[in-house]
Symmetry: C2
Subunit: 304 residues, 2 copies
């Protein structure tokens, strides 16, 4: 089990990922149609950030978890679109000069570089709203209870008890030296919460009882940490051209990471251990969970 799928897992993931990425691009193209009025620049900035590029790992995870419960691909796509709205908004704001001050993202200039800071702040804010607008719309799911549960879970995952809280801890990491427990908590919030929502969203759409969600929660927590460890490894070992962004930023900022605290090889081992553990959480599922298993393998094997 721990060996992973290797080439076949990567092939399974990349085929489905390409289809999801095309669907997400097309959904953004529709959602962000440029109006013929003075808001044109705002929409162009959102399109710059949202369309083209990006691994679309989160929408793929929603599809994979939805496979378990025969949830319609349209519903899964709408939820994936909402999550990408949040993910892209967070990248726009994190890249701002006052935050991580990045010039490149996905191989293109960041929004504040291609446009300006004010437009970048507003473009992020607008994508933030669009996430909730998409989830609340009846196109996403016919049951209003499901829609409002999705809204609540996403707001929790992205707000101060989730992603944004983790980003605040990340800012503090430049001022304080964090230990492994605190870095783990930081990453559980900063990247883990939104990844967990991808899987939780399928459970919400399936109206799965809370006590039946334990395995999925374990899977999500483990791949979230494995994803971050892989990111930390790519930050020190990766190819900036493939990544499409600056690397080696954490060490330069004096921030502790899994790699700085554990060392390269022990971090890599921990990543593989987490992937094995994530897949073990899926023992109750059959072939319908194969894509989830392949994503777990892909997460530590990817080169960008």
């Amino acid at each position: 089990m721990a060996g992973g799928g290797g080439a076949s897992a990567t092939a399974l993931v990349t085929a489905r990922a390409a289809s999801v990425a095309a669907d997400i691009d097309s959904a953004f193209d529709h959602l962000l149609a440029v109006p013929d009025d003075p808001r044109r620049r705002l929409y162009e900035a959102m399109r710059h950030a949202a369309i083209g590029g990006g691994k679309r790992l989160r929408p793929l995870l929603v599809q994979a978890a939805s496979d378990l419960f025969n949830i319609s691909r349209d519903s899964a796509l709408r939820v994936g679109l909402a999550i990408e709205c949040i993910h892209v908004y967070s990248l726009i704001h994190d890249d701002l000069p006052a935050m991580d001050d990045d010039d490149m993202r996905r191989g293109k200039p960041t929004v504040h570089k291609a446009f300006d800071e004010a437009t970048a702040i507003l473009a992020g804010d607008c994508l933030h709203d669009l996430a909730f607008e998409v989830l609340a719309d009846e196109e996403t799911h016919p049951d209003p209870f499901v829609r409002v549960e999705l809204v609540k879970a996403l707001a929790l995952s992205s707000g101060p008890a989730g992603m944004a809280g983790g980003q605040m801890m990340d800012l503090e990491a430049e001022r304080t030296r964090f230990d492994l427990a605190t870095v783990t908590r930081l990453q559980n919030l900063k990247t883990g919460a939104l990844i967990a929502f991808c899987v939780e969203a399928a459970a919400i759409m399936a109206r799965l009882p809370h006590e039946a969600r334990t395995g999925l929660h374990g899977y999500a927590r483990d791949i979230g940490l494995a994803f971050q460890i892989a990111d930390d490894l790519l930050d020190v070992e990766g190819d900036p051209d493939l990544a499409g962004k600056a690397l080696n930023k954490d060490a330069a900022a004096g921030k502790e990471t899994f790699v700085s605290l554990l060392g390269v090889e022990p971090a890599r081992e921990r990543g593989h251990m987490l992937v094995a553990q994530a897949k073990a959480h899926l023992h109750g599922y059959g072939a319908e969970a194969d894509l989830l298993r392949a994503i777990a393998d892909y997460i530590v094997e990817r080169d960008r």
Copy 2:
């Protein structure tokens, strides 16, 4: 009718406004309890912006519109809290150096002055999430359909087709000379959309048929514009100490406003005309709409 309530209207509004303001402060105090971890600074920044000060006009409007339909004060308060989350987040972001670059707000340093820019961006982002978390929670209303409709309407009012779209037009106003029609549309988005949501929220909670909402929509549109005209007048005539913020900023930035386009006295007349028209839209309601009528008068008579 056009004469308005004068002193008695102001008294009615200020009494109820004081009670609403106390409830909102207490709800924020509860919502923003400071955690004992590295996110402390984030919560302190949100508290700095959200608690104390502010007219709380929007939550008051929700209460006044809820009076028409016997909606519980608790539900109206939760909706008012969500709207204040959006309003306060937008003030934090609008005050940033890249946007309006303001140092003072509600008589206190703005968040980026009291803390720093990164914390201000994140504090705004977090209040943005909390708005939707509050609305989606069953404490707000027992009916999930009502909650998800509230979420959708708020996302529309605050996003690119509402407040944030208006703020983008406002940025463009420094580069282009807008005519009266464009300034009206800008203000309908920038301040009107969220004010309209305050009234619409009561109609949603009452599950009022759409065809029965025309009068309320007319009222909201008219007081939204009257509010902005009063703001423009205060910007040229007001007392910065009472306002708790810098004034005369629009003229300095070369932006057209209702006052610059119409002149002071015609703008004042238009404000009073809009208030009379707003109250005329309420002709189908009796004494239960007295607070809405008094708010319309107060909006153009206030000194801050």
